[in-house]
């Protein structure tokens, strides 16, 4: 039928389309947002990676010395630093490997040295890379410098930077450090198993039973999203700590350590697992259950052959999300981890405690590996779940079953008590004058200005940050998603953009924050000016939570008719007019969802910003951490609950606002 003789395209140039003004605007904007992601994500991560391979070592062979006699005449005999050290044995080899700020004094090379002596010294670098300090003056030249004894005392050798695996070698040869890998994995796996099991039955009860008060349970289950992850830690301290209300229940075991971390992790990851599993259970097909019933399958068998396989992608996805959240979380193990070291806290300790930035970078690289793996597997699973969703199915309608409904109700009540209980303990602790000695109620703990952490200013800063993140982040994310979804051609550019947009999800907050130090705190960086300002906190937070926001926007945009842009072009109307008049109004629910997501996360985030705040930009969530660190646990709980109430209020406002706006702008939805 088909003429196959002429099916080979003639050679010659391919038609290159002329770009319209819209194409140029859209590509230009996309490049700008891509550049934002490069600067706020790729460059910092690269800086961190390169830091982890940076080693600093004082190369003694790069220095030469001469000593004069008492009259100040030099006899011309020259000794290298290496020879002097070999002779005097001043520094062991390990001492020569230092950090970026390492300094070694040189007087030890000369056993007869006395700063009052009239003996003169000469020192020089033998290579252009050698560096030493006289007082605070850096000497990099290779000419001889003559110094008297008193000045020679102030000479310090500086290390040379090199690239190598030394940092990793030293990491893996320090049991205290690499034990954390085991600890982190163990905690993450255990928390994942517990959370996913609990969340599955909770979601099952809400989707598949006819019990009462489902709405209330749903609300309670979502509450932990509104608080920083370290808040359950504070509640657990009050319950099971050294002076805990019910510490007897632990039978002598300590809450400080794995037990506390796991219980707290279950608390703060529960809503994430619950949402995913609930979605998976909600889409199951009633026809399968009818088929199972008509084949006289027992409920137990139906459960294992229909329910679980139907929800398996949700379960796997939930497991990886929880795993990722736990292994990258910093706040909770910081508060309740005690002597139990995990990776995220190690980064903090290395950087803040020991100022060992290279080692912090090494731990970050180690932490990124499981995080990226979990993320990649989750993405693969999610893409499969979409295929499952597209099948047309009949929604499952649960039938009342008195006994089962009562069991599920009891179960959900227990979970509800666990979640609401921990929050209540925090609120209670915040209102007690001095636990456990003076149980009278007072608002003393709300006098944040009297504590460490920045006082009420932190709270105001947090709200500023949350609002700015919500507004700027939503604008950038939604516009970026629109550009990448709806611009024509430019396939490579769009693929790269998509990749950048997915990357933040795989990068733990601690790693991102540390990477920002390396990148933005570099004086050579023209963007150095934003270091220590609110701007860097906004940039960091937007980038940290970019992926979920981006996916929300993309999902909403994919539901828009693909041909709107074609229609607008055929009518000779600018794409930006279409964007403003149609795309944004139609996607308004998603836009509002993105903004509240960014707001809530900006209020609760600790991990990324803990490295980046300055005395002027302290944050409420950081204040919780710092007050807890300083022993002001009750004020920490009070501030944590302030975050909770603020977020709850924000959600209520968001709900009312979306309803109001939707009623006005989305009248077209009603038939």
């Amino acid at each position: 039928m088909t003429d196959t003789t002429q099916s080979i395209m003639p050679a010659g140039p391919v038609i290159k389309g002329k770009l319209s003004r819209d194409d140029i605007i859209m590509r230009g904007s996309m490049i700008i947002i891509a550049l934002y992601l490069v600067v706020s994500l790729v460059f910092p991560l690269y800086a961190m990676l390169s830091k982890s391979f940076s080693t600093y070592r004082v190369e003694l062979s790069q220095y030469e010395f001469q000593v004069s006699d008492e009259a100040g005449t030099f006899d011309g005999s020259i000794m290298t630093g290496a020879e002097l050290n070999a002779r005097s044995g001043t520094f062991a080899d390990a001492e020569l490997s230092t950090g970026a700020d390492g300094r070694l004094p040189v007087t030890g090379f000369f056993p007869d040295f006395s700063f009052r002596s009239p003996v003169m010294y000469q020192i020089r670098n033998t290579t252009g890379t050698g560096r030493f300090l006289i007082g605070s003056n850096l000497q990099t030249g290779t000419e001889w410098v003559t110094l008297d004894s008193n000045t020679f005392r102030r000479v310090q050798l500086r290390p040379v930077q090199a690239r190598g695996l030394d940092n990793f070698v030293s990491y893996f040869s320090t049991p205290a450090l690499f034990n954390s890998i085991k600890n982190s994995l163990w905690i993450a796996v255990l928390s994942t198993v517990v959370t996913v099991s609990l969340a599955f039955w909770f979601a099952y009860a809400l989707n598949r039973s006819c019990m009462k008060y489902k709405g209330v349970f749903r609300l309670i289950a979502m509450a932990p999203i509104l608080v920083p992850s370290l808040l359950p830690g504070i509640a657990l301290v009050y319950l099971f700590g050294n002076q805990g209300m019910i510490k007897e229940l632990l039978f002598g075991a300590s809450i400080y350590g794995p037990i506390g971390i796991v219980i707290g992790s279950v608390f703060f990851t529960f809503p994430h697992a619950f949402i995913i599993i609930s979605t998976a259970l909600a889409i199951s097909d009633a026809r399968l259950y009818e088929a199972a019933a008509s084949l006289r399958s027992t409920p137990w068998r139906t459960f294992w052959t229909v329910t679980v396989p139907g929800a398996r992608y949700g379960l796997i996805s939930a497991a990886f999300v929880v795993f990722n959240l736990v292994i990258t979380d910093f706040g909770l193990p910081k508060v309740i981890g005690g002597q139990f070291n995990v990776l995220a806290v190690d980064i903090y300790k290395q950087v803040i405690g020991q100022q060992n930035f290279e080692m912090g970078a090494v731990v970050s690289v180690v932490l990124v590996i499981p995080a990226i793996l979990a993320f990649a597997i989750d993405r693969m699973v999610q893409s499969k779940q979409v295929a499952l969703l597209s099948a047309r199915s009949v929604p499952y309608e649960p039938q009342p079953n008195k006994k089962m409904d009562r069991i599920f109700f009891a179960y959900c009540t227990l979970i509800g008590i666990f979640i609401a209980g921990l929050l209540a303990v925090c609120q209670f602790a915040a209102l007690i004058k001095f636990w456990p000695y003076d149980l009278s109620l007072s608002l003393n703990n709300y006098q944040f200005d009297k504590m460490d952490g920045g006082g009420w200013g932190s709270y105001v800063n947090s709200i500023k940050l949350a609002l700015m993140t919500a507004v700027a982040g939503t604008a950038v994310v939604f516009f970026g998603a629109y550009l990448v979804e709806k611009s024509k051609g430019f396939r490579t550019g769009r693929a790269i953009f998509q990749m950048f947009a997915m990357l933040p999800m795989a990068i733990p907050g601690m790693v991102l924050g540390l990477a920002y130090i390396f990148f933005f705190n570099n004086p050579a960086n023209p963007l150095n000016a934003i270091y220590g300002t609110m701007a860097i906190l906004v940039v960091c937070t937007v980038t940290h939570f970019y992926t979920v926001s981006h996916l929300t926007a993309v999902t909403a945009l994919k539901q828009m008719d693909r041909e709107f842009e074609s229609v607008a072009a055929s009518l000779k109307q600018p794409t930006m007019k279409l964007f403003a008049r149609v795309t944004v109004p139609v996607c308004l629910p998603a836009v509002l969802d993105i903004s509240i997501y960014l707001f809530v996360n900006a209020m609760t985030t600790v991990s990324a910003v803990v490295f980046l705040y300055s005395p002027k930009t302290t944050l409420a969530s950081i204040a919780v951490l710092n007050m807890d660190d300083a022993g002001d646990i009750a004020p920490a709980a009070a501030m944590g609950m302030m975050i909770f109430y603020t977020n709850a209020l924000a959600r209520i406002i968001h709900l009312l606002a979306s309803r109001g706006i939707l009623r006005r702008t989305q009248a077209w939805r009603s038939r």
């Binding site: 002329k18 693909r562 055929s570 139609v586």
Partner: protein, 371 residues
Amino acid sequence: MLQMTPPKETYLSIRDLWKAFGSFIALKDISLDVKEGEFICFLGPSGCGKTTLLRAIAGLDLQTKGSVTQGSQDVSNLPPSERDFGIVFQSYALFPNLTIEKNIAFGLENAGRSKQEINARVAELLELVGLPDQGRKYPAQLSGGQQQRIALARAIATNPGLLLLDEPLSALDAKVRVHLRHEIKELQRKLGVTTIMVTHDQEEALAMADRIVVMNHGVIEQVGSPTEIYREPANLFVADFIGEMNQISSSVAKGGRLAVGEKTFACLPHEFADGTPVIAAIRPEDVIPHEAGYLESSGNRNCIDVQLAEMEFLGSFWRCRLTNERFGGKELIADFSINAVRRLDLEAGCQMEIELPDNRLMAFAKAGQGA
């Protein structure tokens, strides 16, 4: 109708157009001229490249090679916004949050028109598509057919030189579809706008088009008026795709006659050499029924005796399955009028004779052989 109007100038000219998606070639060396004011249908099975061609004409997906000239302007590499066309999609693509009026007015804005002018034009267009009092509603409040009319009004609002319709009726149910295709055709005639419609529905194409472009596997199989396409299909694909066609294996005998078994039939002129295996083809409605013994009495050599194996009543005619071992186990399908069936007293199982008129019997190359 077409013959009565004076010959028009070529408005759209496509030359040597190729489109490749990676290694897959979607359009192969397409050349086509569309006259001013003409209604053209691109017809073909799904995946034949008809939508790809339409999108290349619109500039929505640029061709890989070849040129498109519209008016007298070479638009080959221009973006859609710099071309002159209105487009209607299968999905309507109405802006859901804008009222019908605002949808239609969307393309009228920013062109130096005053508010009154725009409003007047919108009212005129609503009148034109027969929905004068629906302007304040939202698209979701209209039926599918109404939405498609609004999409049409929006597309023609700016008086484009070219109207492109991408399967505009496929999403509608059958009755609305028939009704709307009349209206679209009527509107197009009234406006005189050059129109290209993509469809996979042959009935739609036959009913609406001035000329049909039949496409398959990225090439144009035939271009012609609906009657040409139907009566004189250029090849077996067109013959088979449009309407129904009986196909009987045969070979060319002396004098260009078609041999089926030991019997030969006169047929329409063709260019096959003697002895070439070909397909003899005839439409079911072109088969003429006769009573047994007709051949003897008339001497018409294009007759053959058959057994009427099965009859199916389809309202206005009978569809009959006729067998004869010469057809190589295949049945011949024939549509007989109710009159003829009554006159010849036909019933399932009876023996009869049929005539394959020489001015209706066609010879085609077998599938896979060059034309």
